[in-house]
């Protein structure tokens, strides 16, 4: 890294080297049995340069030839975007705990044990169910240095486990599943098992819904999958800068229900999306996006912020080696006061949506979504009566989130990136076959 930076500095104004090394071990179950053990080791290096005011970059995975990297980056800088940003110098970073040495000490045997426990509990409850799943642990080391003296280095550990079950009856198939992740070792499979068993219990009977507008309760999975996805692009500073975000003109205005508050917070300890600084070396910060229904901030990296006349929110993300781009790291939605059970009790005819298939395929920018209910239940006179099939739920998130009937009091992390309670929404289009 030092060599690449030194070489680049000879021929460009500014340069930055970003390196990610990772090691991961996973055990994988298929068809209710242990199937594969896997390890992977990988290192990638990205070089970003500014030459004659323009940005160029090159990446290498594996053997890095520093001369070639510098040449490639300089070649691309000829056509690159005008660099409006200034790389950060030496910064003070907040303390965020994301490394637990205990993760590396979890043995393969313990990991296999967790997997077996999940499979055993689920197959015991439902004969004929086929489970896939796995347990993974690993470590990521990030190093970043630039020509202005900026320097960051941190280690992150991660641990995840999950299980998916399929029940086939004739040509009918039911899918259930749950997963969890953390920067610390997960030692208890009970939470995951309980969730899957509850899904199986609720899906035992089948129920028919009528085609009409009706209330829908989105579980945390449903909220993350169907409602949050469109918001991610709307709060992206780039979309805003282009005027393509429906929220672009709404900063400081009320665009959502007064009970809806959303914050991007990469400083929460031990969350997989947390970090002390972003991928450009900008310190992490807590960024309120929606506060009591009012649009508060958009997410920016250095370049987008400079173009928009704003400050970076420490949201520069760069997959493996791509140029940084604004993205949320860990979204947190403020819980409300209504329990999930109270929501159900309040509904005469409606749906609970856990997973919506194809929700991400609609006109995301405009907020329209439409998805087939992969896992969802019918509510009848305040009770869950069974699973629905061949049912499409559609709506527009901006309309739905303007008036939310109730926000749940029980909140949980979904897919490691969003902490949310259930949402009770009214007047969604439900269309059902038969």
């Amino acid at each position: 890294m030092e060599e690449i930076l030194a070489r680049a500095k000879k021929s460009v104004q500014d340069a930055e080297v970003y390196q990610v090394s990772s090691e991961e071990t996973s055990v994988r179950f298929e068809a209710n049995k242990l199937k594969q053990l896997q390890t992977s080791q990988s290192t990638s290096v990205a070089l970003r340069v500014v030459k004659n005011g323009r940005t160029g970059y090159a990446t290498t995975t594996g053997t890095a030839d520093s001369a070639r990297m510098v040449n490639d980056a300089i070649e691309t800088a000829e056509f690159g975007q005008e660099a409006k940003f200034t790389l950060p110098g030496k910064e003070q970073y907040p303390r965020v705990d994301i490394y637990d040495p205990a993760v590396e000490k979890v043995t393969i045997k313990e990991m296999v044990g967790l997997g077996e426990k999940m499979v055993a509990a689920v197959t015991k409850s439902t004969p004929g169910i086929m489970c896939e799943g796995g347990v993974s642990r690993g470590m990521i080391t990030v190093r970043l240095m630039n020509s202005r003296g900026g320097f960051a280095e941190f280690k992150k550990s991660f641990f995840s486990m999950g299980i998916e079950g399929t029940v086939v009856t004739g040509s009918d198939m039911l899918f259930v599943g749950e997963s969890d992740s953390s920067c610390r070792p997960l030692t208890d499979a009970k939470k995951i098992i309980d969730t899957v068993l509850l899904q199986l219990e609720r899906a035992k009977n089948q129920a028919k819904v009528t085609t009409r507008k009706m209330p829908v309760v989105f579980t945390p999975d449903g909220v993350a999958g169907a409602l949050i996805l469109p918001l991610l692009s709307a709060f992206n500073g780039k979309t805003v800068l282009e005027g393509a975000s429906p929220l672009a003109q709404k900063l400081g205005q009320k665009a959502f229900d007064v009970n809806f508050s959303l914050v991007d917070d990469p400083t929460v300890d031990y969350r997989p999306g947390s970090r002390p600084c972003d991928d450009e070396g900008v310190p992490s910060q807590r960024t309120p996006l929606i506060e009591k229904g009012i649009v508060k901030n958009f997410l920016y990296d250095l370049q987008t912020a400079a173009l928009a006349g704003k400050k970076s929110t420490g949201s520069g993300n760069r997959g493996r080696g791509t140029l940084p781009s604004p993205a949320a790291s860990a979204l947190v939605i403020t819980p409300g006061k209504t329990t999930f059970d109270a929501m159900i009790k309040d509904i005469k005819e409606g749906l609970v949506v856990e997973q919506l298939m194809g929700a991400e395929q609609g006109n995301i920018l405009g907020g329209d979504f439409s998805g087939n209910v992969l896992l969802g239940y019918k509510i009848e006179n305040g009770k869950l009566v069974g699973r629905v099939k061949d049912t499409i739920v559609s709506g527009n998130v901006y309309k739905i989130l303007k008036e939310i009937a109730a926000i749940g009091s029980e909140t949980r992390w979904v897919s490691g990136f969003c902490q949310t309670p259930p949402f009770y929404c009214k007047g969604l289009s439900v269309s059902s076959k038969g």
């Binding site: 594969q36 896997q38 087939n372």
Partner: protein, 459 residues
């Protein structure tokens, strides 16, 4: 550190000595270049290179897999994979037999797309972007271009030693139109197996795409419900890939008694006119084409459905052995970081005789769905989204409607295909995702097809 050829040579003898029932190693090096536009701004342009390898071992039916990009300490990598396999396996198992192969397969392209000067690629993208922005009502655009060249060396404990090279080119353009708070977009995806020229003459299509995005702003939304739907070759290709193709991947089926029953060979799946094929070998030169898969198995042309009956499925050596069928050469890995899994290649519905006009002639009220926006499947259930849609009224294409989402049960939907056109067209703009491996180059295609009673989402 050694290069991938010498690494493969070193391991070739090491693997034959290993104590595993079977073992293999795959080494890869690649170069790529990418250009992305966001709006009028060239947002990023870059080059990258990667190299690495993996070792996979099988002991008593259990797999060990280790990937790395430091190409030293190779014997230790083999030992790791074998140890992992030993800890996993517990039964008796043998892979389907294939003849060991020694071969060297060049990429077969004239000019390596990665070496074409960036200035030339940028000029082309500038032309396309200019066309989009010339259409009144366009708010912004997105363009993503990428090319790659890669060399993969495969060796196994049975004596195979295969070197294959390939190149790939993809382009995706999106035009976004906006008026008041209304936003609509239309996309165009194209690709080729390394031939840059294949994407240099899209000017007309790009103009139509941008115009369509603006037109959608005024288009009404179709009413949700059941319709007779006609799919264009692109969307029908996505349907055959997503809804049916994934069910033909034997790794879904082979350890599940109930699914085996559901996907029993000989079962009637559609009308007699319906033939569905997956083939990496013929036609050659498509994005999903190759000579050997990532287990060193020669690719063949596989009929999945013939005359409406299920007659075949896609296999790796493992699934073929477990189902006592012949390997088809469909084990593919996106790159060295992943073990090969059963994947599609070029998947299509064989053309028949009907013209487009005959297909729509007797439809009173239906929907003509074109182009694709996305698609996913969960076994029997599928959803896919059209990029454009038009009402069909009294046998004629009528007004444009908002892009629709189609969903349904694959078995019922296949049975409901009652007309198949003559105009087969392969779509090379797609990438397939499965098991975290995405995007894998594939192509899919079909002639125009008609589906009775198809469920459409909307208002």
């Amino acid at each position: 550190m050694p290069d991938i050829d010498s690494a493969a040579k070193e391991l070739s003898s090491e693997l034959t000595k290993s104590k595993a029932d079977y073992s293999e190693a795959r080494f890869e090096e690649n170069q790529t270049s990418q250009i992305a536009y966001r709006g009028k701004v060239l947002e990023s342009i870059g080059r990258s290179s990667a190299s690495g390898g993996n070792v996979r071992a099988l002991v008593k039916g259990g797999w060990g897999f280790t990937s790395f990009n430091e190409l030293d300490k190779l014997p230790a990598r083999v030992a790791t994979a074998v140890e992992q396999a030993k800890a996993t396996g517990s039964g008796k198992f043998k892979l389907a037999a294939v003849e060991p192969v020694k071969d060297n397969v060049p990429s077969g392209i004239g000019t390596d797309p990665v070496t074409i000067p960036l200035v030339e690629k940028k000029k082309l993208l500038d032309e396309y972007n200019e066309i989009i922005w010339c259409i009144p009502g366009i708010k912004t655009s997105n363009i993503g271009y990428g090319d790659s060249r890669k060399k993969v060396v495969f060796v196994n404990s049975e004596g195979s030693f295969i070197t294959q090279e390939r190149a790939d080119v993809t382009i995706r353009l999106t035009a976004i139109a906006a008026k008041d708070s209304e936003v609509q977009q239309v996309g165009l995806s194209m690709g080729s197996r390394g031939d840059f020229k294949a994407i240099t003459k899209l000017h007309k299509q790009v103009k139509v795409m941008a115009q369509n995005a603006v037109n959608l702003l005024e288009a009404p939304q179709a009413k949700a419900g059941e319709y007779t739907v006609v799919l264009d070759p692109i969307l029908a290709g996505v349907f055959v890939h997503e809804a049916f193709g994934h069910l033909s991947e034997s790794d879904f089926v082979y350890e599940n008694e109930k699914l085996r029953e559901l996907m029993k060979l000989g079962k009637q799946f559609g009308v007699e006119d319906l033939n569905i094929i997956d083939s990496a070998s013929d036609p050659p030169g498509l994005r999903g084409s190759f000579k050997y898969d990532d287990e060193g198995v020669r690719a063949v042309k596989t009929y999945l459905i013939r005359e409406g009956k299920l007659v075949g499925r896609l296999h790796s050596r493992e699934t073929a052995a477990k189902m006592k069928e012949k390997p088809t050469g469909n084990a593919r890995a996106m790159n060295y970081r992943f073990p090969p899994i059963v994947r599609m290649t070029n998947t299509y519905i064989e053309p028949r005789k009907m013209s487009f006009n005959d297909i729509i002639a007797d439809i009173k009220e239906g929907i003509y769905a074109k182009n694709w926006y996305g698609g996913t499947t969960a076994m029997e259930m599928f959803t896919f989204s059209a990029g454009e849609a038009y009402m069909i009224r009294n046998g004629k294409i009528a007004e444009a409607v908002r892009p629709i989402m189609l969903t349904g049960n694959v078995f019922e939907t296949l049975m409901s295909i009652d007309a198949i056109g003559s105009d087969l067209d392969m779509n090379e703009g797609g990438g397939c995702g499965k098991g975290g491996q995405m995007p894998l180059p594939v192509s899919n295609g079909s002639p125009h097809i008609r589906i009775r009673k198809c469920q459409v989402g909307g208002k």
